[in-house]
Amino acid sequence: MIVDLPPALLLIAGALVVPFLRGPLRAAWMVGVAVAALVNFVGVEHGTHWQVGVFGYTLELGRVDKLGYLFGLLFHIAALLAVIYSLHVKDTVQQVAALAYAGSAIGAVTAGDWITLFVWWELLALTSVFLVWAGRSEKTYAAGVRYLLVNIASGLLLLAGILFRTNDGGSLSIEPMLLGDTASVLIFLAIGIKCAFPLAHGWVIDAYPRATPTGTVFLSAFTTKAAVYLLARVFPGAEPLIWIGLVMASFPIFYAVIENDLRRVLSYSMINQVGFMVVGIGIGTPLAIDGAVAHAFADVIFKGLLFMAMGAVLMRTGTANGTDLGGLYKSMPWTTGFCLVGAASISAFPLFSAFVTKSMILSAALAEHHYLVWWVLLFASAGVLEHAGIKIPYFAFFAHDSGKRPKEAPWNMLVAMAIGSVLCIVIGSFPSLLYGLLPYEPMLHGHAYTPYDATHVVTQMQLLLFAILAVWWLMKAGIYPPEERKINLDVDRLYRALARGFWWIVTVPLAHLGKAIDSAVLERIPARVVAFAGFAHAEERAHRGWVTGASVLIALILLVGYLLVYYLSG
């Protein structure tokens, strides 16, 4: 630790300076801030730092233990990659929002108490929404508003949960809790929304594909992973998580297969990957939690890499639809290569990152005799290979030649993707580097977990080969769903209808009703009574002075009412 400040504030402070810099200076500043924050964080000592007393509560602005350190490190790396990737962007709002967003995520995973966490939780929503709006069109505007509504709803649930907790005499410190009382259920739901639990996942697939090419890279890294962190911290071993996670790991596969917008495919894929993590947290053994956390680490990098590749395609061609792409490998070879590394990583090929992380979750499921869970996860893994491992690179860069020959991605994007690719391979090839950071790693020393034994590698290779064969056969047989321009109905449609309905009801009938009551019941009707009783002169009426008489009438009625009630009950 070099700077004696809560780690989150470094990026936020850096963000505040951005508007005052221009051109190359600004670019250098952004990279400099991200690097400095990373270097600073690497040296942070574990323990509780920066306690402050605020209105009678003790806040822990920074608590760093193994779990928080791992996520903090991950978020710093993700922030640096995304900053490099977006260096070419000339949009102050996006740049400030992106840095502040990364800072908020780091704040959330290093918060030691619920109030501090709540603040960062809301800031996550408030800063990131600008990345959705940055598209500056009607569609991105509406999607941003919906995104904000859902995320603020999560914040309100969290706040309600915290209030219940303090009212029951619970401490403000973030500690594991049992799922059962009102407070824990509210907090669970709040996390669930940000974690994209089934039915609460609509905002992800609604907003992420609509953000700018660079914005999505930031978005995909932080919010859901901060929620995963919090689940691992607060609800390890909560059984409902196993089943929720299974649903998350499996249902997006079907949507991903039929979806045309490749960034939307990746959004579904993200929910699917988070599903694996949620299952791991639900199983709750040290191995499972380590697996979930490790998988989160790997996922942020390979999913970021895939989003970067698709972002580059979108920027160069103006579209990310499978139907409009194909054959891009000829003019974008580097991007193609990096995308393939990402695809291999997410599909868990040996020597690539997900292989060494996801297998921990599967092994933990077997060790706990959750055979059904194991089977479903295996099926989901095959699905991952199909939609993320094959579909994404295949439709974008190969498949039928679309005739498009865009320029290769700009250098800064290539640098970010190259670093991401290297990280994917390093994690996959030298897993002990990551394992050393895991929260329960010391307990594993007795029988250290080894991903590269014969059983694992053989099982995984079989799975992958058969999945590839299956896809190949489906395509040959013409059963594989072709790319089509169509809209697939998902809960996000329901969200939109609900959001629109809510907005309409509040702003049209209810607001009009309020206004009508304000002028009619409170002014005109009593005014008529006054006029009818002959209290008001014609002259006054002409000056609308009679409305004043009406107000006085109401005051009198109230007085009589109070007197009656006080006397009767007094």
């Binding site: 007393g53 605020v54 209105f55 009678g56 709540f118 603040v119 809301e122 800031l123 408030l126 505007y141 508003v145 603020i152 309100l156 309600a160 209030l163 219940f164 303090t166 009212n167 907005w503 509040v506 702003t507 209810l510 607001a511 009009h512 009703l513 309020g514 206004k515 009551i517 304000d518 409170l522 002014e523 000056h543 609308r544 002075g545 409305v547 004043t548 009406a550 107000s551 006085v552 109401i554 005051a555 109230l558 007085l559 109070y562 007197l563 009630v565 006080y566 006397y567 009767l568 009950s569 007094g570």
Partner: protein
């Protein structure tokens, strides 16, 4: 000198602005009255800080005017409750006076400036006096001083819009009814107890808490105070008064006048009536809670559909007053702390917001939806101030509004009033809707008259605006001072601290 000031601190706070208010008529016709007002408000602000520090350190400060010991003479009595309110009134006056010079120069013709500053200082005197006095009749006199000068201040908006006159007239009628009811209430109390000293009243009323005359006094007070704080359904004077008054007057009144009304309510309900209020067989709190809940929901709905932004924020004030009264109705420590801290937080929030609107009026002449469109790009700093202030109205964390809602909701949960807690949260959602409307107009709509070139407001308007808006962020992040002072004040009122 220092000793003299220390000794006579309470009375100086009232006498200085009173003398300055009269003096403003004679010091000159240009900017001299403003300079006098500026010097006075800042001096008094300093004095109130000194007074609050002393009260928090040593406890209640008593001052007998002319050396006549209470209950015979008029006494000033300052505890944590009114010391805190005094600080709010003086602080807001100091900041808004800075803003007043340019804003008033643009909105009021120059031959009326000295009358304006005279009324301004007299209104300030009245508000401070109401808050500091320990004598019930004295309170009524000062209430009239502040009210009469307020009517004048609102009417001075006529230079821009003649409707200011009807607005002022309407407030005059209703304000007078309110003040008269308060006077009748005080009269009934005097009839029963033979004393006007508040502390003495409290002692003597202790055993008379269910006496019919006292109950009558209580009913008059409830309505009179309801009118003064503009609690639904007695809020009808407020929207027009706020809309047509000169911008800086709106900011000052919104931040102080209803707050002093809330103070009177605290004082009468808790200190003076005490048992009548808290132990009555009937439950007055039900009325307060019901009306405030209706105010929160109803006024927010009305605010959504306003096309004049000042009126929109005026209705928002009616809703926010709901929160303040709600905290009183809960009468538990957390709820009352929430109420008092909201007096402070809402004062800086709404003060800052109305100043920002004043800056727009200064550049564009008015603040209806038309002027507001695309203001985000034309006046970025002013628009940003409105966004931050709006977030505080909603109660977003890191803004002052959050602190108030935190305590209020805790108060609701403490009394097991779940429905009320939901209303408080629901009020925030409605605030999101009307604040969002402002954001949408400012940032996502094109200006209605793009050909007119509009510059950012001058620094003399921006600095006071951002002082208040900055304060909403400051006291949202570090609420130690506001929350602990409000807690002490709440405990004083509830009798935990004598």
């Amino acid at each position: 000198m220092i000793d003299f000031v220390q000794k006579h601190l309470p009375i100086l706070i009232v006498v200085l602005p009173l003398l300055a208010g009269l003096g403003a008529l004679f010091v000159g016709r240009r900017h001299q009255p403003w300079m006098l007002a500026l010097a006075t408000t800042w001096t008094v602000f300093g004095l109130t800080i000194a007074l609050l520090t002393r009260v928090l350190r040593d406890g209640t400060v008593e001052y007998a005017i002319g050396g006549w010991a209470p209950p015979w003479g008029i006494a000033l009595r300052v505890d944590a409750v009114n010391a805190f309110i005094l600080l709010i009134v003086a602080g807001i006056a100091a900041v808004t006076t800075v803003f007043a010079r340019r804003s008033i120069a643009a909105e009021v013709p120059d031959y009326r400036w000295r009358f304006f500053y005279s009324a301004w200082l007299l209104c300030f005197t009245g508000l401070l006096g109401i808050t500091i006095t320990g004598d019930a009749f004295n309170l009524y006199v000062l209430l009239e001083i502040s009210s009469l000068s307020t009517y004048t201040l609102i009417a001075l908006g006529m230079g821009k819009d003649r409707r200011a006159l009807t607005a002022a007239f309407r407030y005059l009628v209703l304000g007078t009814v309110g003040a008269t009811f308060i006077l009748l209430g005080i009269g009934h109390l005097y009839m029963m107890t033979g004393t006007l000293n508040m502390a003495d009243l409290a002692v003597r009323l202790h055993d008379l808490h269910d006496n019919r005359v006292v109950l009558t006094a209580f009913a008059f007070m409830t309505v009179g105070l309801g009118l003064k704080v503009a609690l639904f359904p007695l809020h009808m004077w407020l929207p027009n008064a706020y809309t047509y008054a000169p911008s800086v007057v709106t900011a000052f009144l919104a931040a102080t006048a209803t707050k002093v009304g809330a103070y009177m309510a605290y004082r009468f309900m808790f200190t003076i009536f005490g048992r009548t209020f808290t132990e009555g067989q009937f439950t007055v709190d039900i009325f307060l809670i019901t009306f405030s809940c209706i105010a929160i929901v109803f006024a927010s709905f009305v605010a959504i559909r306003q096309n004049h932004i000042k009126r929109l924020l005026a209705y928002s004030s009616v809703a926010q007053i709901g929160y303040i009264v709600l905290g009183m109705g809960l009468h538990n420590p957390d709820g009352l702390t929430g109420s008092i801290v909201h007096v402070f937080n809402h004062a800086i929030t709404k003060g800052g917001l109305f100043l920002a609107l004043g800056a727009i009026v200064y550049r564009l002449g008015d603040v209806t939806v038309g002027e507001f469109q695309g203001i985000g790009r034309r006046m970025p700093l002013t628009a940003a101030a409105i966004v931050v202030g709006g977030l505080s109205l909603v109660g977003v964390p890191l803004t002052a509004g959050f602190i108030s809602k935190w305590y209020l909701i805790q108060g609701c949960i403490e009394s097991g009033r779940w429905v009320v807690a939901i209303v408080v949260l629901g009020g925030s959602v409605l605030a999101v809707v009307y604040v969002w409307r402002l954001v949408e107009l400012a940032y996502f709509t094109a200006p209605s008259q793009p050909e007119v070139e509009v510059r950012e407001a001058p620094l003399s308007l921006l600095i006071p605006t951002w002082l208040l808006i900055g304060a909403t962020v400051w006291f949202g992040i570090d609420a130690t001072f506001t929350a602990s002072t409000a807690r002490t004040a709440a405990e004083t009122l509830l009798g935990v601290i004598p």
